[in-house]
Amino acid sequence: MVLDQPAGRVEDGKPAAPWRHDAKKEDLKHIGKPIRKVDARGKVAGLTKFADDLTLPRMLHMKLLRSTVAHAEIVSIDASKAAALPGVKGILTGKDLPIPFGILPVSQDEHALCPDKVRFVGDPVVAIAATEEEIAWEACRLVDVQYRELQTIGGIHEAAATDEPRLHDYGVRGNIHRLENLEFGDLQDGFARAEHVREDTFFFEGNTHLPMEQHATLAHFDKDGKLTVWSSTQTPHYLHRALARTLHPLPAHHIRVVAIQNGGGFGGKSDPFNHEVAAAKMAMLTGRPVKIALTREEVFWCHRGRHPVLMRSKVGVTKTGRITALDFQSYLDGGAYGSYGTASTFYTGALQTVTYAVENYHFRGARFFTCKAPCGPKRGHGTPQPRFALEVQLDKIACDLGLDPARIRLDNLAPRDSLTANFLRIGSMGLGACIEKVVAGSGWNERRGKREVTKDGRIRGLGLACSSYLSGAGLPIYWNGLPHSGVQLKLDRSGLVTAFCGSTDIGQGSDSILGWIIGEVLGIDPLGIKVVTSDTDLTPVDLGSYSSRVTVMTGNAAMQAAERARDILQKGVAEKLGVPAGRLVFADERVFDAEDPKKGMTFQEAIVCSEARFGTIGTVGSYTPPPTAAKFRGGGVGPSPSYSYSAAVVEVEVDPETGIYRVPHVWMAHDIGRALNAAVAMGQIEGSVYMGLGEAMMEEMAYRDRSHKGKRVFVHKIPSMLEYKSPSALEMPKVTTYVIEDPDRNGPFGAKEVGQGPLLPMMPAVANAIFDAVGVRVDEIPCSFEKVFAALQAKKDGKEGRYGPSSGADGVPVVDFGDSLKIKTPWQGGDGTAWNEPKREKKAAK
């Protein structure tokens, strides 16, 4: 439903100044320019410190002994031999850390060390600290753990069919962690009006982040009883909370978390981790600094990556391809713990409506516990899997109806400034422009379906797909009425501006956006601004680097702090010069009269005269997203201040005999509202193309399920960087990038998220391109060569040219989802609540 009055950013009860989101490019000095990142030179000089680069005097090295079995009760732990080894200084087991934790309040189901039960191969059981790393390893080998093995739960179908044993004693029932069932509008009517209905089944195997840096943590407990933890984490605030919980009665304000530079995150360092809690406890136990640096294999056990998701999607369309109804089911393999899984489950159903107008929508989602490393958020969090399904299905529908896949998308675009069926508020919407760019650039209209043959006998194909992603989650992870981001500014009489913020740079450039925005508002060089971030002792809370929230949320907080500083200086300078405050201009490190530019002073002099007049200058800014329109249970996942959009065309060259294919060229358009920095935005888009390509072609967190001496062995297939295939420099295709700038009212200078959205269309675009080239469908990710070959073989054998999960009744597990929550759509007069929802107690949210 199109909104009469677009909901803009409101501040102090007044609409935000319009110059900020629709400022003309030529009026901006720093925003949009390719200024180097604040930390760029330190990084190329090798001076940037990561967690494992830190050492402290008398530091101990900690190692974790991990479970060797997939599911078992711990019968006994005998660490006496380890304790006797010279150099061993501390040993912890589950009983030393009895308080459970977890990123979401609804799933506090992890322990730093398993107290009574292990749930996957890799679950930590014992922590040992020693004077040398090798002694700690040797001591781990001396520990005798006796297990009583339980039945392994190996995947979605198995979990659905196995009520006992349960991995956890909470959840819906059996091994079902979550069940969601949401119905928006009138599905029956929607399908009745459809002139063509398709039902398809898809599978997306999970994959992992594979950050180049292995997680590491250094903990120090000083003699005043204060704890400091330096860690490679994307979410220092949530780690701070988890430490305060698990180390009770240590007060939260005696705990300092420093999120040191992350060597890549992609969502994989967003949970509080067992090794972080154990290192902190070990530092308290031994009175010495304790460091743990995970091995690469252990990074695979940390995981929290992409959920394997089995999906069944039924869509109804008119003859011209307009969507009348969508019925989407997703079944998630959650692995051994909750992690972000509740949110992930909702995300598999949340954003289908943000790209294309879906009149009537039914979503059912089920998440299962299995004996795998826990799944969680990876770039795109829960939305790439359904996006793959939807975009391939649209391609099939276009094919069924003889329509152009680009046209069918353009005809279904969700309108800007509108509410979707599931009450998500769309602001700026540049998907149409994105599609037009990649269609024109790739020669889509001329080259699609031509099946050109390359010199080496491969067949060319083009595939198109789109996506949308959040600019941060509209609600925090734990219910509260507090800001999502805070920035403090200190203006020093030397002329130095220092920004303090809890946000965490994981390489995406979040430290730098503070400088660019503050520099623009104050008219000073962004590289002259000092940025202090992600230190819970020094910096105001920012919820962390996840869900692409930093540009919009931290950016708005920085803007507010900078504007307040500007107001103070404006008053000071106006008084000093006898010029009306409104006439003063901040630019080029000066503050001057717009009507007489010579009349003015340097920025530093402006600070000095204002400090003399008003005292020490410091300001704060904070940001809370606008209230969400979705009031039904589950409506907390999906709302965002704004949505980015992406469209991709991928070119493939497929060998019709072997199924081996290459990707020579990708055209990617990304609507990011406004590029705060051109070069950095480009880097985010190219990185997304790369990571999406890896997911499309090869990356998978697959498990080996074998029988050994009559026993079932269930372990990760390939926990190493050599065997977990990811694209190297040689596989990277040519990328033609289009930056689409459709400024959004809720963003600082109109900016939206950049860099998660463009990962999503890669997987479906590759699958669609393979169909265009050789006429077979791979309804499963990764779309590996073997699967293309299998589909080609099936076609040759006269069967359906398809590889994927069974589309029959056995394709998805039988799950009783119970009654759906029924929500009237905005165009049915709905108010965002479910009319059949049982009354809920009011939460603390304000």
Binding site: G46, D53, G687, Y690, T737, V739
Partner: protein, 173 residues
């Protein structure tokens, strides 16, 4: 183990002698990071799979996690800390910083050492030659493109050309 005898040797690193006592089974990576505090060299797997720990030994890029430290004694070892002269970064470092070729920055030292070695013997590498030279250095952030562009730009500048990055690489098409 702690009781094992330590070896004493002098390494030539970044043009300076470093006398170090170390367990003889330690790798060059471990000795650089742990005994000389040269933490600019990173590790991503310690199994020779990711290229993150690349350093130069006698001008050749090698994986320091697969090289025993004793094998580097008497050789000319260069790490990322040895690239910049005094306060001045090399053209390659400048181009990497300016183009955003270092995102998280963790693979960056290894990439720099591999690319620096390439430019030493090939002042005008083609895109394919750059890809080949960096094929052993995994990067998860950048999609490699800004790295390729930075190497090309640095090569041009080192040849004395007045090169600037293309408009497409900064602002898109």
């Amino acid at each position: 183990m702690s009781e094992s005898k330590k070896a004493l040797a002098t390494f030539q690193v970044n043009g300076e002698p470093h006398e170090v006592a170390f367990a003889p089974h330690k790798t060059l990576l471990e000795v650089l990071r742990e005994e000389m505090n040269l933490t600019g060299t990173k590790h991503g797997c310690e199994l020779g799979e990711c290229g993150t720990c690349t350093v130069q030994v006698d001008g050749v890029p090698i994986l320091s996690c697969l090289c025993l430290a004793v094998d580097a004694v008497g050789k000319d070892v260069r790490t990322v800390e040895g690239l910049a002269q005094a306060s001045e970064l090399t053209p390659l470092q400048h181009c990497m910083a300016d183009l955003g070729a270092a995102q998280c920055g963790y693979c960056t030292p290894g990439v720099l050492m591999a690319a620096d070695a390439l430019l030493k013997h090939n002042p005008k590498p083609t895109r394919d030659e750059i890809k080949e030279a960096l094929a052993g250095n995994l990067c998860r952030c950048t999609g490699y493109l800004k790295i390729f562009e930075a190497v090309e730009l640095a090569a041009a500048r080192m040849r004395g050309e007045k090169a600037e990055p293309s408009k497409e690489s900064i602002h898109g098409s």
